[in-house]
């Protein structure tokens, strides 16, 4: 058991503290795997070199301000879609969860069907629906909403389930105590249950935001200028596939890394309060 007053990591919780022989094996394993990774990277770089992908003409345009300005426009588009879809899906997910957990049978069944539908259907299919089917009925949507709505709907199904898991995790005694004070069900849900439920599931909510960010990359289907779409335009202009995709991947990784970091900070800040 760890008694150093240091916070326990998952590893501390799952495995006993290593002894001397295990520590030696761990060092050997670390060295070997590092070597393997280095060799792997070297092979990849070599292959790129051999096929000419490292040639300056594929990379120099990344030094131009116009490239980055254009990419930044795309990045803003990605953020706009991701944030709008994220916030709307949270609201819709909440409504679906409330409907499903309400005692009203038809409402509960309807919300369940809607939740399972959006959770089960791939977001690309939803995008095609808004891109190809909806306009046939004379409903004109801007490309922003053609990407935002399907991404939002797909996420709302998952979020409804995440929130429901959180609500179920709130101990029954919390509700009983509130009922004993004479509080009505709706007040209990909003003042006692939801605030605690959301704290339980904040890490999952933020992970879902990462999924939303990644879902926005299919925006090219509807020609909405997000990061991915603008990257594709640049690829066509400069004929620089590998370098451009590589750069964009790094941007996405940094963005999602930032979201994850944010979730860790929020969880830690709230976590102090909810330890029982």
């Amino acid at each position: 058991m760890s008694t150093h007053g240091k916070p326990m990591s998952i590893r501390d919780a799952l495995y006993e503290a290593p002894g001397p022989r295990t520590r030696r094996r761990m060092i050997i394993g670390t060295v070997l795997s590092l070597a393997a990774v280095a060799v792997g990277i070297a092979l990849i770089v070599r292959q790129f070199y051999v096929t000419g992908q490292l040639a300056p003409r594929y990379w120099t345009f990344l030094g131009q301000a116009t490239t980055w300005r254009y990419l930044f426009q795309g990045f803003r588009g990605t953020l706009a879609v991701a944030l709008t879809a994220g916030v709307l899906s949270l609201i819709l997910g909440l409504v679906l969860m409330l409907g499903r957990t309400s005692g009203i049978k038809p409402l509960s069944v309807a919300c369940r069907v809607v939740t399972d539908f959006f959770r089960g259907v791939p977001s690309l299919l939803l995008i095609y629906f808004f891109f190809l089917v909806v306009p046939q009925y004379g409903i004109k949507l801007s490309s922003f909403w053609m990407i935002t709505l399907p991404v939002m709907l797909a996420a709302s199904g998952v979020l409804a389930e995440v929130l429901r898991a959180g609500v179920n995790a709130v101990p029954r005694g919390q509700v009983e105590a509130a009922m004993s004070l004479g509080m009505r069900p709706a007040r209990i849900m909003f003042k006692i249950v939801l605030p605690q439920a959301i704290r339980f599931v904040i890490p999952s909510l933020i992970s879902q935001l990462v999924v939303v960010v990644k879902d926005t990359t299919v925006a090219y289907v509807v020609s909405y200028p997000d990061l991915m779409q603008n990257a594709r335009v640049l690829i066509t202009n400069y004929d620089a596939l590998v370098s451009m995709y590589f750069t964009v991947a790094v941007v996405y990784i940094l963005l999602n890394f930032a979201i994850n970091k944010l979730s860790a900070v929020i969880a830690e800040r709230l976590g102090v309060k909810i330890i029982r």
């Binding site: 005694g173 509130a178 009922m179 004993s180 004070l181 004479g182 007040r187 003042k191 309060k273």
Partner: protein
């Protein structure tokens, strides 16, 4: 019925209350009256239905048949009326059930502000008085997880008191506590009893029962087997079932 003066009407009355959990008959023909200012202690082996009975009084458990009357009026089955009736009955749980995301002060002011419509300053002033009375005033700004079990249970009592209840139910209030914290909670309850609070207390604390109870009810297998004054019950139990129970907890 004759013209009762208000104080002759029992605060709580159970008439022929029956309840099943599936095949299990947890409450069998329960008849009980609790008068104003009376301290009723319910004891019995685990699984005897005493907690369930306690929880039927504010309908945290429903009943299959029978009647529950609060000051002579039937306990409402649902809605606004039920909530209003619950607001007039205090409930203290085995596991405290303080609102985990709210401070101690907020735990005590929530009911008065949200249910009774009291002004925040007034509610906070009253809450601080109550917290002082149960000896945890200096913890007001903390959250429940930062308090010991005994402190949490005293806050839970203050939370109930803040609603100015007609009666209070205690469902094994000391069963989840470490031994050294039991007395600090019992002391608060003794104080309440002396102050004239109507109380129904489900407990395993026999000394408390003997010292504080006006009447002891002994339950087993979902029935009230015996009831009487504490000294009478503990010294001369009338039934074999009660004698067996008292023997089984002696000698510790």
């Amino acid at each position: 019925m004759t013209m009762d003066t208000r104080d002759d009407v029992p605060v709580i009355e159970l008439r022929h209350v029956e309840k099943h959990f599936g095949d299990l008959h947890v409450l069998r023909d329960i008849n009980l009256k609790v008068s104003r200012g009376e301290v009723l202690v319910v004891i019995g082996p685990s699984g005897s239905g005493k907690s369930t009975m306690c929880r039927t009084i504010n309908r945290l458990e429903t009943i299959d048949s029978g009647e529950i009357l609060i000051e002579g009026k039937p306990l409402p089955a649902e809605g606004r009326e039920l909530a209003a009736m619950r607001a007039e009955l205090g409930m203290v749980f085995q596991s405290f059930n303080l609102f985990a995301h709210k401070t101690i002060l907020e735990n005590v002011t929530l009911g008065p502000i949200d249910v009774l419509g009291m002004k925040r300053e007034d509610a906070e002033k009253r809450a601080m008085e109550l917290l002082a009375r149960v000896g945890v005033a200096e913890q007001a700004a903390k959250v429940p997880a930062q308090l010991s079990g005994g402190q949490q249970q005293r806050v839970a009592i203050a939370r109930s008191l803040a609603m100015n209840p007609k009666a209070m139910m205690f469902d094994e209030p000391t069963s989840a506590l470490d031994p050294e914290m039991i007395n600090e909670v019992l002391d608060v309850m003794v104080e309440l009893a002396r102050g004239g609070m109507t109380m129904v207390v489900v407990t395993h604390e026999m000394n408390f029962a003997r010292r504080v109870a006006d009447r002891v009810v002994f339950m087993a297998d979902g029935q009230i087997v015996e009831e009487g004054a504490p000294d009478e019950f503990f010294d001369h139990p009338a039934t074999q079932r009660a004698r067996d129970f008292l023997d089984s907890i002696k000698g510790h």
